[in-house]
């Protein structure tokens, strides 16, 4: 049996609605459908509520809704017999209180508007990145002139979480990449009797391209995202505003340390990745029967220090890029918990896109220079 009942009796003058029982959430859920019937019928409404034994605010909302449905059709409404204490409850909820406000209509923009807005967004974002680059350069310059101002302990701490704690994952990925490339390229090269050149191939890839790129992507996922989340949370908690009102520049105060730590961490991690990647190709070739001196001679004959230097220069640049973008996305966070998540995503995606794009430019420059100097490859 339901906690509450509502029955309608038609009379000549209109409708009589008998409401009984416990008008709390469960009871109201049971009697709510009666509203539709009253809305559909015609005539004045008299509600007899003498047998209502309990009525909380949900019950009051139901009684008000009865009234609203009736009077909105231009009919008269009368409530009879409600106990005094419930009537007082009803007074807490005036008739207009139960009407939900109309939802603010959301304009659905057309295709052209959307394209235009997105374009503006992208342009504004590019502009922000340039502005941020400028701020960062100024802040770095100020700090370099007075390095004692830096919190070296904090930098060391950031370096530790970015570099030292990242060793296992960077090591694992480089080792696997080295193993995969060597074991896959042995076959094709053997067709030309050149399988020892696997060492050359892997070393070149790891030194010039994959070492820095893979490490940078891993650091973007591990560290850049963490920066974005941390600074984003600070932004949401108005900590950045607090810094500003204290006259402290957030870029100077939060970004510089992270960027300095990042532009050291990435080259060092990259060296580690290069070593493990090339080491993996040594393992593959050694297990294929080649001797260590022969492999070593292959490496030193073909690869030069300039290859490693090129990779390390890239890594330095990527270090600044990944940490800078992480911080920038953090600073750009809007309000709310979801915004922090969005900032983190944007940090990783922008970092990866920028890493790949700038690597293309790097490679273009280096091949042009090599051509000009008529170096091989």
């Amino acid at each position: 049996m339901p906690a509450a009942t509502a029955s309608i009796i038609s009379e000549s003058r209109g409708l009589v609605v008998n409401v009984t029982g416990v008008l709390t959430a469960d009871g109201v859920a049971a009697v709510w459908p009666v509203l539709d019937k009253i809305a559909a019928a015609a005539g004045d409404v008299l509600v007899r509520a003498g047998e209502v034994t309990a009525c909380d605010s949900t019950g009051a909302v139901f009684l008000r809704e009865l009234e609203r449905v009736t009077v909105s059709g231009g009919r008269r409404f009368q409530l009879d017999g409600l106990r005094a204490e419930f009537a007082r409850t009803l007074e807490l909820f005036p008739l207009d209180a139960i009407v939900p406000p109309p939802p603010t209509p959301r304009r659905q923009p057309g295709l052209i508007v959307t394209v235009g807005e997105k374009t503006c967004e992208i342009v504004a974002d590019l502009r922000n990145q340039v502005v941020f680059l400028g701020q960062l350069t100024v802040a770095l310059w100020q700090v370099l002139r007075r390095p004692r101002q830096l919190h070296w302990k904090k930098i060391l701490q950031i370096f530790h979480t970015a570099a030292v704690d990242g060793l296992p994952i960077v090591g694992l990925i480089s080792l696997l990449t080295g193993l995969i490339i060597s074991s896959q390229s042995v076959g094709p090269l053997r067709a030309y009797g050149a399988d020892i050149h696997v060492i050359y191939l892997v070393a070149l890839i790891m030194f010039r391209e994959l070492g820095p790129i893979m490490t940078a992507i891993l650091v973007a996922g591990r560290t850049g995202s963490a920066f974005a989340a941390e600074i984003g949370t600070m932004k949401v908690n108005e900590e950045l505003d607090a810094l500003k009102t204290m006259g402290l520049d957030p870029v100077r105060f939060l970004v510089v340390e992270r960027v300095i730590a990042g532009c050291w961490a990435l080259p060092l991690l990259t060296v580690y990745a290069m070593l493990l990647g090339v080491g993996a190709s040594f393992i593959v070739m050694l297990s294929g029967g080649y001797s260590l001196p022969a492999l070593y001679a292959e490496l030193t004959d073909y690869c030069t220090v300039s290859d490693v230097v090129e990779g390390l220069l890239k890594a330095c640049f990527f270090g600044v890029l990944v940490t800078g973008v992480g911080c920038l996305r953090g600073i750009q966070t809007r309000a709310g918990a979801a915004a922090v998540g969005a900032a983190t995503t944007r940090a990783v995606v922008s970092s990866i896109v920028l890493i790949i794009a700038s690597d293309c430019v790097f490679t273009l420059i280096s091949t042009t220079l090599r051509d000009a100097a008529s170096l091989p490859f």
């Binding site: 709390t24 959430a25 469960d26 109201v28 859920a29 709510w32 459908p33 509203l35 909380d56 605010s57 949900t58 009051a60 909302v61 139901f62 008000r64 809704e65 204490e85 007082r88 409850t89 007074e91 807490l92 909820f93 005036p94 207009d96 209180a97 139960i98 009407v99 939900p100 406000p101 939802p103 603010t104 809007r334 309000a335 709310g336 918990a337 979801a338 915004a339």
Partner: protein, 262 residues
């Protein structure tokens, strides 16, 4: 008014600590059904901690909390869930869900715990928001609200399921005097007409006089209750200097419109 004279909350010998540091020691008191009970005390004396113990968020190191005669501190999962249905909480920071609009925040408990039809839920949500004067902000996200509006929305959410006990941690902080007085009247109305019990942490002397049936005052040094009783009595006959300075810090211009307990 309510026939049941058993205290709705009873705290026995409660000790709460963070790590090894005790914040509250051997605290005992009772809250009567339908009354407005205020917890006073200086900043950092453990008011929020006490409230967290009362709502079962925090397990006291010793002692127990009884809600409606059932031991909340040692309840099994079912009892715990049932007791939680009886309470509504507004946290000091509001703690609205940032990804939902105000009306979705208030609606969430209704969606989870009642079988009301959608139209009914909408009307109930609208009525709760009207109670705290937030109808116009129904479709805003918490990030788009002012500090005081967040508080009011959080109160509306705490009231969503018509709980028997409502805990409010500093409801009037961040509200202007007019809104704050309105809120006081709403609280009094809910308590008188619906028999809701309120446990309120507040510093507003004006609110204390208008609202509180009884209050207790905590102190960081003694880690316990240093005074309890009706606010007017504490003001007129302070048992010690701390209470005296608390109640007399402001000139006594406030009209003590104290409710007579029914």
């Amino acid at each position: 008014m309510p026939a049941n004279r058993q205290p709705i909350i009873s705290v026995r010998d409660l000790t709460a600590q963070y790590g090894d540091r005790a914040v509250l020691e051997h605290v005992s008191f009772e809250v009567r059904r339908g009354e407005i009970f205020v917890i006073l005390g200086g900043s950092g004396c453990g008011k929020s901690t006490l409230m967290k113990c009362l709502i079962g968020l925090y397990q006291p190191a010793a002692g127990s909390v009884f809600i409606d005669g059932e031991n909340f501190s040692a309840a099994d999962a079912d009892t715990h869930a049932r007791l939680l249905r009886k309470i509504g909480v507004m946290y000091q920071s509001g703690a609205l869900f940032g990804s939902m609009t105000v009306q979705e925040n208030v609606r969430l408990p209704l969606d989870e715990y009642t079988a009301l039809p959608v139209a009914a839920k909408r009307a109930v949500v609208a009525s709760k928001l009207a109670l705290v004067g937030l109808r116009d902000a129904s479709f805003k996200l918490p990030a788009e609200l002012s500090g005081g509006m967040i508080k009011r929305a959080a109160i509306a959410r705490a009231l969503a399921l018509n709980p028997a006990i409502v805990f409010l941690d500093e409801p009037s902080a961040g509200l202007d005097p007019v809104t704050s007085a309105d809120l006081d009247q709403t609280i009094i109305g809910l308590s008188r007409d619906l028999g809701v019990t309120f446990v309120i942490v507040t510093h507003e002397l004006a609110s204390i006089y208008t609202l509180a049936d009884r209050c207790i005052m905590l102190d960081a040094a003694t880690k316990g209750i240093i005074a309890s009783g009706r606010p007017a009595d504490l003001r007129d006959r302070p048992p010690n200097d701390l209470v005296k300075s608390f109640f007399h810090r402001q000139p006594l211009t406030t009209q003590p419109g104290l409710r007579q307990p029914s």
